[in-house]
Symmetry: C2
Subunit: 220 residues, 2 copies
């Protein structure tokens, strides 16, 4: 008796699916910063109850993607230049910890191989902007995951939403020079050498450059 052809049943809850849909809609730029996200409108458009949309919106609020305006009305968040600089400094601290822990681990070479694979994905993304963003963030998430510190991954993911709105806000379609394999290779090389100060310097420089990039000539 064959069991394989039975498709996997989606056991995710409706709230989770709504959450993913809304997060995707915001981070893909379908909603622009400042746009009002009305519960009734979203509920009607998604065909679900207000309460379900409400819980998803609250989740996004804690992620920093939406912010409460007048009388609790939620709007898509946008970060000031100062906030962006602070955001990338926190990222630098977290990813600096990641490389520190990776270098301290005995299976450092396996981590290097995994990171090389992540960079290859970035190289294979070609000119597709969305794919490049995914590959770039995928590399940095992988960096945190390879540290073996789940709390570090958790902290990084807490910033992910803000990072995505920053990227999408700055570069609607222009492919920046930020997300290239050449930008990430030095990190891997420093890790491979076991050069902790060098790796930290590369990460900080990488983040500082990104902060400069995203705070200069703020787009629309």
């Amino acid at each position: 008796m064959s069991v394989e052809p039975l498709p996997n049943i989606d056991r995710s809850t409706l709230r989770e699916r709504v959450l993913r849909a809304l997060r995707s809609a915001i981070t893909s730029g379908a909603y622009r910063p400042g746009d009002h996200l009305g519960e009734v409108e979203l509920a009607g458009r998604l065909g679900v109850s207000r309460g379900t949309v409400r819980e998803a919106l609250r989740h996004l609020q804690q992620e920093g993607l939406v912010t409460a305006g007048n009388r609790g009305m939620l709007r898509v968040n946008s970060l000031s230049a100062e906030e962006i600089r602070g955001l990338f400094r926190v990222r630098a601290a977290l990813e600096g910890l990641a490389v520190t822990e990776i270098i301290a681990r005995p299976d450092r070479s396996a981590a290097v191989a995994a990171l090389r694979a992540a960079v290859d994905e970035l190289a294979g993304a070609g000119e597709d902007f969305a794919a490049k963003v995914e590959a770039d963030l995928g590399f940095h998430v992988r960096l945190c995951e390879l540290s073996g510190n789940p709390m570090l991954v958790e902290s990084w993911r807490h910033l992910e939403g803000r990072i995505r709105v920053t990227i999408m806000n700055r570069d609607p379609e222009e492919a920046p020079a930020m997300m290239t394999p050449g930008r990430h290779a030095p990190i891997i090389e420093a890790i491979e050498r076991g050069d902790l100060p060098g790796a930290l310097a590369v990460v900080e420089e990488h983040m500082a450059a990104a902060a400069d990039h995203f705070t200069s000539t703020r787009a629309c």
Copy 2:
């Protein structure tokens, strides 16, 4: 016409009050790790609707105070020794960034004064365990706030719930040697000297000691 005697109206929403009540109940130890938090029971006990309790619980879930168990049932979270070590390494990274930014600021002496005041609060807490915890965490929050980086404060606060359950889990009533003015003074002194490497070393040592303390001889 006198306007003063009018008391400030509490404009907080019911959900926020429920959230504070539940967070306080968990971090104060009224609920022990592993305890099941039923929506109906809490709603009945608090005299509010299930939906309101539900939103508060979801918030606490994102804070890491409660975790989803079987069939979405929420329980008070407890961290493994490994998670605690990872948690305090992330704290060290964040607070290391805080001292870095404070030292780089022009108004460093003002920050030093504010931190001294925070340590004085810790000294004035006496033997009251809850007050000592508040003063200790207050010092570290102040440290992040004085960096002038709101995103750093946000990231730290994201870990606050887990920090609190760790403390409450380990030291139900025993007053540890962790939260003393003597433990925090070296951080301030290094900041005052502008000694960045020294300050980072002190912070990391402080966090490593705390991690060791909370992972040794796990209570109940």
